[in-house]
């Protein structure tokens, strides 16, 4: 195994290999994944933008590569992608900040 870096973009194409020791689970996952992204109550384009935002929130480089290309190929422009990233970042930032209330409650309780 190369120790140059942990992430290699070509590894995304090897994703199906995760099924090698659990083919039934992999099949369930990939079938479910495909169904999730099909046109439904939300369009495939809307789902792609949500996926791009989540990819940033979970900081998955494979997903960022894949859903940047996917959203662009579904007719989004880079301004729209950037806004999706800001939505994800705002929720992450807000999620951290709103825990400040927890901090204040603890501080109020133990403080004088």
């Amino acid at each position: 195994m190369s120790d140059a870096h942990y992430y290699d973009r070509h590894d995304l194409g090897r994703f199906p290999e995760i099924g090698q020791h659990a083919p039934e689970l992999a099949k369930k996952f990939f079938d479910w994944y495909g169904a999730v992204f099909a046109e439904g109550a939300l369009s495939a384009r809307e789902k792609s933008l949500i996926a791009l935002g989540v990819a940033h929130a979970v900081q998955c480089p494979y997903c960022i590569d894949a859903y940047t290309q996917d959203a662009l190929s579904k007719g989004c422009d880079v301004e729209q992608l950037t806004e999706a990233v800001h939505v994800a970042a705002a929720i992450k930032g807000g999620a951290a900040l709103v825990h400040g209330v927890q901090m204040r409650k603890v501080a109020d309780h133990v403080g004088m």
Partner: protein, 357 residues
């Protein structure tokens, strides 16, 4: 209304004396691109596996006329290498020959393209002549041409002859439109669409207005046309009050200026691999060359506009010029193929009429 800014123009491959101005050079480069491991880049073998080799026409539905390479724009992805300095233009004699040939056939659709086809002095002759013959006429319009004073009468002219107008617009927002087609194009295109709406186009009254979008970059269009159309209709109405009838998505072909961009941006190998990998037998069965013939500005005959730009004339014994037009022979001719053909068979497929499968 504010005066639209000047369009930003770029020199064509021909002006820059780029080696890629040569069709033979383009074909050779595309043929020699190494693909990603495991991919077979021979289009005829792909056809063979799909049970479609040799690919043959199955009738003539569309008589496409490319009147020349003159254009007021210089789009970054143009497969024609069109621009304001191009001099190839259909003569009156050739335009009349087109109409003579049409009169002897039953081909129902006449599709006029370029360059900006309206810049050709014989454009209106072709439209009125084909309409007199009772044919459905399509004008592949770049929209910005409608904003020049010389062509201010065009919306009324096109509406008066019930011409279907097919307009290129990569996106309903300015960013990608101007990136692909030149700074200032978006604003003028929106103004052009408003002019077409004003004379009744795009409102379901029989004056059909079609928009065509190509991906801006090394990407395949992966949305279904229907889903994208819903979004475009909503957004063009919301942002600009514009109505239209249909949205078509077209895959970019590795030809001419788009080929140059793919090379220079380091995307060529991966893009070609994507096209090959996405070969779809259902799309291959419905490719547009099987039901059309593409006439060049000089009267030469080709299987499609892409083959025309690659200077691949009709082959395998089929007529090669308007002067020897033979409907029966052309309707059953074998199609000339090369690696660029993977562009029409990838994913949901691509044609001058949009997605195929």
């Amino acid at each position: 209304m504010s005066v639209p800014p000047e369009l930003r123009l770029l020199p064509t491959l021909e002006e820059r004396r780029s080696p890629l101005a040569s069709a033979a050079e383009q074909l050779a480069r595309v043929a020699s691109v190494p693909l990603e491991p495991g991919l077979e880049g021979d289009f005829d073998r792909a056809l063979e596996r799909a049970g479609l080799f040799p690919l043959a026409a199955r009738g003539l539905q569309v008589f496409q006329i490319n009147v020349g390479k003159l254009c007021n724009q210089t789009c970054a992805h143009c497969h024609v290498d069109a621009g304001p300095t191009r001099e190839e233009a259909m003569s009156r004699a050739t335009a009349e020959l087109c109409l003579d040939v049409l009169a002897k056939t039953d081909i129902p659709i006449v599709d006029i393209t370029g360059g900006a086809p309206e810049l050709n002095p014989n454009f209106e002759l072709l439209v009125t002549g084909a309409r007199k013959l009772g044919r459905h006429v399509m004008d592949r319009c770049n929209l910005t041409i409608l904003e020049s004073q010389r062509f201010a009468h065009l919306p009324e002219f096109l509406a008066g002859h019930q011409v279907e107008v097919v307009c290129s617009l990569p996106h309903y927002r300015a960013l990608n439109t101007d990136k692909q087609r030149g700074a200032g194009v978006f604003e003028r295109s929106i103004a052009g669409l408003k002019r077409l709406n004003a004379v009744g186009y795009g409102k379901g009254s029989g004056l059909k207005l079609v928009l065509v979008t190509n991906p801006v970059g090394a990407l395949l269009p992966t949305s279904t046309q229907a889903a994208l159309q819903v979004e475009w209709k909503r957004e063009l109405r919301r942002l600009h009050g514009i109505e239209f009838d249909e949205l078509h998505t077209i895959t970019n072909m590795p030809i001419s200026r788009y080929l140059e961009w793919l090379e220079q941006s380091g995307n060529l190998e991966e893009y070609l691999s994507k096209l090959v990998q996405a070969f779809n037998p259902a799309a291959a069965a419905g490719v547009m060359c099987r039901t059309m013939v593409s006439v060049g500005w000089d009267g030469r005959l080709h299987d499609c506009d892409f083959n025309q730009m690659l200077e691949l004339e009709c082959g395998f014994g089929a007529p090669r010029h308007l002067a020897e037009f033979d409907e029966a022979k052309l309707a059953a001719r074998r199609i000339v193929t090369a690696r660029h053909c993977f562009g029409c068979t990838a994913g949901a497929g691509s044609s001058c009429g949009g997605q195929l499968a």
